[in-house]
């Protein structure tokens, strides 16, 4: 920008060589594909690392808001970390839900959830995504991926959504998908990190 400014004479006309360079640079930047510009490396982190940041924003939105749901917004790596996680909060006073998506320690998406989602609050203590994924991989996930060329698709932290026998429990739901077989669901107890059950669907 300073180069472009230096190439303007007192009468407001751009000197030809410098203007040409600036134009070329601008065209080069414009010609960059969006994928290259967006391919900046983002640091993956476990889900628990983003709770404080999202909770601070949620408290500003509604003082009575509490965390009800967590989901990975980008792919989860082998260590249970993702470059972006979504945190959903519910406010009883507002009767609204708001999601905060965090990346690199900053909120990159903050929006109200269109549907009503008056879910129960997550437990105050839960094992992080790395421990939950390790348990799921050990139990069935690794074998599923090997046999069916599957991959880890989703990690969801919720309460009362997937466990009918004990809806009060906060659980991780680890979902593996495969193009050739039905998906594998592994339910991990978020309090202790133990696998509760698995099913295909």
């Amino acid at each position: 920008m300073s180069h472009v400014k230096a190439g303007i004479d007192r009468r407001g006309r751009a000197a030809a060589p410098i203007a040409g360079s600036a134009l070329a640079a601008a065209l080069w930047l414009a010609a960059l594909p969006a994928g290259v510009a967006g391919a900046r490396d983002h640091s993956p982190f476990p889900a628990g690392a983003g709770v404080d940041g999202s909770a601070a924003a949620a408290r500003i939105w509604a003082p009575d808001a509490f965390l009800v749901y967590v989901e990975n917004d980008e792919d989860v790596d082998d260590h249970g970390s993702a470059s972006r996680w979504g945190y959903l909060y519910f406010s009883p006073s507002l009767q609204k839900s708001r999601v905060y998506s965090l990346r690199d320690g900053a909120i990159v998406v903050a929006e109200d959830l269109e549907m009503k989602f008056e879910a129960p609050p997550l437990a105050a203590e839960w094992v992080d995504s790395d421990a939950a994924l390790a348990a799921a991989d050990e139990r069935a996930g690794r074998a599923f991926c090997r046999e069916h060329h599957g991959r880890l698709s989703q990690m969801l932290l919720s309460r009362g959504m997937f466990e009918s026998d004990d809806p009060d429990a906060t659980t991780w739901t680890v979902i593996y998908t495969s193009p050739h077989a039905a998906s594998l669901f592994v339910l991990v107890d978020a309090a202790h990190g133990a696998v509760r059950r698995t099913w295909r669907g």
């Binding site: 969006a34 989901e71 917004d73 998506s101 549907m115 129960p120 009362g160 959504m161």
Partner: protein, 198 residues
Amino acid sequence: MLQRPVRHRPVPRPLLAVALAALLPGAARATDPAAPSAPAVTEVKVERTRPPRERLATLRFLKENRAFFRARLDQLHQTPQRGRGEATAIDPRFLAYQRMLAEVGAARDSAAGIDQERQGRGLFASINDLGRLESQLDQVERMLADQRARLGVLQGDFNGLQRTALAIVLSGYPRALHRLDHARGRPHPCGSAVGRTG
């Protein structure tokens, strides 16, 4: 070089009118309806196209399966936890602290009285005064020993326990007693404020 002054000759009035009519477009159209009209001027507003912002999707699984989640939510019922708000027995140590504080206050008053008496006495008049002073010193030593014992109790209770606690003691009539009184038709001694809660 001298220039000759330009002489302006008067233009005949009919000729001037024709010339003006030719210069004015409206006048020309009025005179010649078949002449082509000038292009209409359209005002434009120039704006810069906003660069596309990165649109990030979030909670995709939840949104794609909203019917499932909605159905599961409808089956959940949240009930307050039992036991929350119920009174529990107070640790007897907390009740003992109140007594210890009273003892500390009494000992402080005694020491202050002894000190005030000593300052008011300039000279020991007799051997009896020395005996009384010795007894006062013994009393101070006993108070110090009691204080050391109290500190030992506090140290035993809180050593290694870094915690701040607030104990709130609530007093009142049990709800069952209130209902019983109403059943017998007697007014409750606590008045209308308690009666509304029954």
